[in-house]
Symmetry: D2
Subunit: 377 residues, 4 copies
């Protein structure tokens, strides 16, 4: 584990929990070592989460023989360097999303892991919430028929205050150099990942971005500096299957803490989901008898629904953190079968291509092709 921030916690929890709830797996993660830059912090983190050793230099971590897999939870600007070195060191890699700051970095990372032949995955965790996985099953089973529309948004409101600084501890997501972009890479990347998994390749995009607060004090320099990230991003697009897509993300939607929603409208049926009520999937089937036709509110907590035979009993919900536990479980199962669990670095690169096209489109005020084709894993 490299990094001890918010994502370091979610992943550490997943490694601890997976064996309790997926005892049948052949592999069990061992929390060998954690690395953060601060010696004090890394000890406390290791103690809290049960890591057996600590490092303060990630290169040292990569040199250790007792490490089989590396989890990269550091800011976006370090993903490429660490991942490439880890691949060269022959480690399996689990990398936080987005894959990289830039498309160029992403390409090099994919090359590195594929050349090294190491199992790899990127933490687009929302796929593994049971309701979202159920959506995937329904789409793949053809229940929706031809798809006409896909829409998604990810709305937050935590940066409205103009006095919030940018950059530095806890706020690197506000700093374009560390993050690569604003809501596009942080939030829309999740929406794009889910969308292409459910509905196939996004072919072209037309986007607009906005930075509402133009200058903020930078925590590292202490100076008021221009804000380089996008505060909000909207785009529409064509999917390869002919459906229209509509995506929006912002950190200026007062009242929404983390409203990730998506909806798919098909010829026969529609599906929608909302992160604020994450155990529920809504489903409308036009083939239902007409007088009793309506959106069904499915509480996805039954044993025959994805992942839920591992948890409690019908009606008793799980939370956000469980998406990470499921991803570790699928990754470990992938090791048994020899198949990397999706999304791999290559899959995540497709999302990166769309993100880049979105940013380019917004800058050029014109449509951009994404270059993505075919099935996205």
């Amino acid at each position: 584990m490299i990094g001890g921030g918010f994502m370091g916690r979610t992943h550490s929890n997943a490694y601890n929990q997976v064996s309790h709830f997926f005892p049948e797996l052949a592999y069990r993660p061992v929390l060998q070592a954690v690395c953060t830059r601060s010696a004090d912090k890394v000890r406390a983190f290791a103690d809290q989460w049960g890591y057996q050793a600590t490092e303060t230099d990630w290169r040292a971590l990569l040199r250790r023989d007792d490490i089989d897999a590396v989890d990269i939870c550091t800011p976006n600007d370090t993903h490429a360097e660490i991942a490439i070195a880890a691949a060269e060191a022959g480690k399996m890699i689990l990398c936080e999303k987005p894959l990289s700051r830039t498309l160029a970095e992403g390409h090099r990372m994919v090359e590195a892991v594929e050349r090294a032949g190491v199992p790899n995955t990127v933490w687009y965790n929302y796929r593994r919430l049971p309701a979202v996985t159920l959506a995937k099953q329904l789409v793949d089973a053809g229940k929706l028929g031809r798809i006409y529309h896909y829409r998604a948004n990810f709305l937050q409101d935590w940066t409205i205050n103009a006095d919030l600084p940018q950059g530095g501890t806890g706020l690197w997501r506000m700093d374009v150099d560390a993050a690569g972009s604003g809501v596009t890479g942080d939030l829309l990347a999740h929406c794009i990942d889910t969308a292409m998994w459910l509905n196939g390749a996004i072919r072209d995009v037309s986007a607009v971005t906005e930075t509402f607060v133009k200058e903020r004090m930078h925590q590292l320099t202490g100076k008021v500096q221009p804000v380089g990230i996008d505060d909000a991003c909207i785009f529409h697009c064509h999917f390869e299957n002919g459906s229209l897509g509509l995506f929006e993300s912002t950190r200026y939607a007062r009242g929404h803490k983390a409203l990730y929603t998506f909806e798919i409208n098909g010829e026969h049926a529609s599906i929608r989901w909302d992160l604020h009520d994450l155990n529920r999937l809504e489903y409308f089937d036009h083939r239902d008898e007409s007088v009793v036709r309506g959106w069904r509110s499915i509480h996805v907590t039954d044993g025959d629904q994805p992942y839920m035979n591992k948890w409690w009993v019908p009606g008793l919900g799980i939370g956000y953190e469980h998406s990470f536990i499921h991803q570790v479980a699928d990754f470990l199962k992938g090791l048994e079968t020899g198949q990397s669990a999706a999304p791999t670095f290559r899959d995540a690169l497709q999302t990166q291509k769309v993100c880049q096209a979105v940013l380019d489109s917004a800058a050029a005020r014109s449509w951009k092709d994404t270059g993505v084709e075919g099935k996205v894993g």
Copy 2:
């Protein structure tokens, strides 16, 4: 029309509207005359609603030859006297609910209309909201299978303020002499009417009532007097079909303006409804495929759903007032066929019996039989 208050308005609107939306009916109401005690008020009311004549003495109204039907919208303490006189005068009668203050009055009223052989109905209007009528159709079609549970409540919050006076204009519902009871006759009577229509006879009841504000100024006397009505009433019961019932009503449920809800749980399916979102019926069918099973939110606005072919297009809702229009339409259709539209005075008497048993049970702190049996119309 006798009475020019809130209910006078809802009924007058219904008489005006029915011909616009049910043009196929053989009979069309003519607004011949309206009667209220105040000469000024009655003129304004007649002018607003299109009545051709006015009276200030209901006996004078009953003596008119140009009147075929009488609508009684006066406080509860006058229902019996007016209805019996109207029956004797050979008029059709449409009487506001509850039928009467007391069971004894109710018996005399039923006798009067049946002896006179005049068409008669009581304004338990909620039955005629499309979503509620759809519930009836689903129950009657056997979709629910054996019924286990029926629960309903009617919650309001308008009398919490202890400074609100009792009795007099606009507040006769607070005066036990005028109203007969508090929430039991005013609100629970609606719930009981719907319940027995949907689920059959209520056999016995165990109730509790409460008067939270014990004394209020009486508008007519100007004095602070004990409050005689029930502010809140709860009861559970057995239906004849073996299901359990649970009913609650209060005017002290902060946050609920007029929350009338009911839910029925059957072996195969369940139904629930809420007056605050009156165009919607929720329906759960256990026979749906398990992974996509959930409560369906049915927006009851399609042409194949009850009454809705008379209104707009799918998705465009109607309101509270439409329940009255539908009741007039059904009453007029009943005249064509010679069948009084339910609920008749006799049907409403069954509801009255349950209300009486509820009040008696609360007073005696023991179970009481209702004496109701068989199908309630």
Copy 3:
């Protein structure tokens, strides 16, 4: 009244109802005459709605001296000709939306009514739903602070069936010659009207449209012909106040009968609304105490909320048709004060400009300026 279709019914109902619920108005509409092309149909319509005379030629109607105001409820391709003639005849005009098929027609219509000096309005009725008017009051009172985002959609699903014909009776909305456009003029026009009323001018747009079913049988010709209308339309935009807008409309969103929703996100507060639950407004105020902060579900049925002192009591909802009654009431009040009730033809022309820019943008795959500036009435 010219036209006896769906909108002819909603408007006729409004004229009948307004005097019952707004008795204080100085003017009361008299249903003098109705005109449709079919002699049989027009008689039945007049009889149902209480019109005193009938015509089958709208020019004859305009020649009548006993007519002060003309209501245009015919297909879009007739609006310009009738409205201009009516203006020349000195009649007040109430015209169905959209104002016109094309911007050129719209300009000529505005000129005509302004030259004639006749009171005029366009039936963008949704503004007058109490919850929507309340939203306007909250925005105008500054409760939201600086606005960051406006999003709206209008989703339907009634044309998914590829066997549905285009054009002719009941289906002129599917025929580009009669309608001018598809969802853009029919549905998005409503969203744009509300948006500019609430949030000011839309400055530029970037749009995409799609026609999913490329050919349909035309009812008038009996032949399979290319479909000229847009089945779906999405656009994003900048408002003059710096906020971002996002709009979507389609008739291919399975499960949505008529889902018109909008949401506004401001610095301090946010608002959202949904036509399927039209009596409710949701409101989030960040200034609420933090631990009990949340979206408020406001049931807009109290006497101190817009228009609701005219109707029933708190908790008892109204429906779609009431928006038209309120618009007539405001129009009549405008006659008293000498001020045309918004939206006037000139206001509706601004919406038309945005619609045109949207269609142009989609065709050209590029951003388009709308030319709209300043406050929209």
Copy 4:
């Protein structure tokens, strides 16, 4: 840990997780040993959850010196014997709810732990869901003013199938000898615990119970035998503070997997909560400005809301299992301060008294006093 069923899993998870999320606690649980009757099963369970040793005889477990605390997760008919023995052995005790099958057992258990002076608690876990704890804080802060109404229900539907057997593995809750009662002890006990914690003592009750399926095959005997448990239970009651209570529980409410809801109506404000959307609390405050007054939907995931500074970031929900983690955390904190975490055995005995009065009332068809008085911890 004694018992390796469903509750054994929830508690074991809590012991594992508490140190990860509450690292500041002075005490950390060590999973010393687990005991179940089957030697095979106990080894697998220990391996899965990290217990260091196993036992198949709970008396052996109690004899171990390396055990400080005992967790009782066995069927209800064993609680008293084990708890009393554990108290005599000087162990701290965490006992599954309900405390006991009968009131007599409960009294002996309370005596035993109080005589031994051992820290003790009963797993009424729902109190520790953040939204429920927030409700407690709001009530205690006086935000609601005088309370008028409390209503709660716990609805399930898993025993509707008449072919489901009773008794034996996984089904002891259906066997009156093992469980003591049906829904009253299993589900209503939760509702009663929360209710008295939030709203004080329940003074008297009037109840009805029903057993819809009268006979079921017993798994242990292989014979069809009368069903002794209550399938459904409804009661109303008076709280000591003068408010009315209404409670319902059933396993025959088709469509409800585990619908635990409660609502409190006070003079100034109301609160409601629903287990199916457990991160949310709804709150209505009459003191809000009238035109924007409505139920607030509070997503209880912010750092200033109960327990949530231990988890993720605003908007990201937690699940059912977290209630147990919180209870362990509070228990461990109680050890630091020397105060047993509520509910203690004595607190749980008050709930037991109400359950007993409910069952007695249903049997006698009359009101019963509970004997509970004063504040319930």
